[in-house]
Symmetry: C2
Subunit: 308 residues, 2 copies
Amino acid sequence: MMPSTPAFTTRLSEAARTVEASLEALLSDKAAPGEIARPARLMAAMRHAALGGGKRLRPFLTIEAARLLGAEGQGPLRAGCAVELLHCYSLVHDDLPSMDDDDLRRGRPTVHKAYDEATAILVGDALQTLAFEVLADPATDTDPAIRSDLVLGLARASGLGGMVGGQLLDLSAEGRYGPAEMGEADVRLLQMMKTGAILTFSVEAGAILGRADSAARQSLVEYGRALGAAFQVADDILDREASAEALGKRTGKDQEKGKATLVDLLGMEGARRECRQLVEKAHASLERFGVGADTLREAVRFVVERQV
Amino acid sequence: MMPSTPAFTTRLSEAARTVEASLEALLSDKAAPGEIARPARLMAAMRHAALGGGKRLRPFLTIEAARLLGAEGQGPLRAGCAVELLHCYSLVHDDLPSMDDDDLRRGRPTVHKAYDEATAILVGDALQTLAFEVLADPATDTDPAIRSDLVLGLARASGLGGMVGGQLLDLSAEGRYGPAEMGEADVRLLQMMKTGAILTFSVEAGAILGRADSAARQSLVEYGRALGAAFQVADDILDREASAEALGKRTGKDQEKGKATLVDLLGMEGARRECRQLVEKAHASLERFGVGADTLREAVRFVVERQV
């Protein structure tokens, strides 16, 4: 596959810069209207968790899907930040000692290492709440129907029937709660829930803000699903291949914990083939949008080729 | 003060029964539309956390405030359940070993004892998400402006500038993060954030669903604030007085951890006086509503006299 074009790379890093600035503003020490006060230690730990890192892939998808439909500015930016806050909360809680027990994240100490475990739990809790606060705020969209659609979508993608449910399945897959027999369908369900649902919603949020009709929204959801699945297969391949140095975190972790991945089930060649098929599927879902969707087309290639 | 009237007690237990049934339905193993699947272990642990206990004071306040304004049925019931789910999430996380480290809650093992720590973290996370999912669902109100108003209110009351922020202040008050000098203003701020904000929102949610005009909404918010403050002073008094048997949990915990309470700051007699003043203040806030608000008047007396 081709490397990303300079235009794409510029757009991605431009979006990351805007998202960073917006997250910084959302995580300031100053209380928003309706809040009582923001404790300094909590805010510092939340900034540690959410600022200064990451490709900001999820907000990028929200921003680009909205732009495809003619929506730009604060709305898609804020919705993208909400998804990113949700994502950051999940990382903070996943890193906890009783979960994946990770000391490093993006080469820096995880929140429970830099602060303490209680603070890390509260940081995750408050990042989740803030995601919903941002979506429900009239600054995100003047139409309350759009705002509650966003809230409902994020909640369904991230809660018991989405990301959190997927994390529980992931812990079960380690054999913590009895013998874990993971077939291909189980691995796919786990991945769709744990990482796919939020990636799909990142795209759908752009469709909601762009007032997509139901056919366009459905196409974008299908694009998001294919991208999410491709992301996960690529991650499984990466986990097997990459060196610890290149990733800044421990690798081969799934193997170490005895968890089945798609590479185990399909073989390395099968996994690579599936990756290519998913890229094609994602591209096919964008057909109706013409050249305007080229950035989203590149995004799915970027996702399967990312090195970090 | 007088004991609760039979009419009040009936209403309270009637509401608790309806809330219990509604929570049971919300926490079934069957995935809602837009959710992928609900893992059985997660659902069982969530039911352990949220079902079979508690006075359901918060939903009762939502239901009664809405009823005062002529709103009844699914809307107030669902909004009340959302507040209760939020409350239950906070209890599950507060009980964790790195937080308050409690083994018992309402005389039953806490979630991390009955299951494990990772499951308890995920249970809290998913209960929080479900609270927002319930509020944003059209089944709660057909008007999306009402739904996003509810989401925004709950988020502000429960996040970094409300309940979670208050929990961080509470941990700081134990001296975990350096010497803790708690003056009266600090203790009041902590209590307003940790428990007051959600109690206030419980009432405000009823006002929102009942389409209160801004004056009526403000009166109900003031009632909620007075009730929340009274709840906390009563809790401080109870914590000092009650026996472990009567409460089914460890008591004198604040003293044990060296945390200042309003009883320390005002003395037992001063705390009792403040309680009475807050009851009067709450009653005064309801003046405009006449006899229709008698249940809410009794609720604040109930709150200061509760034995469990």
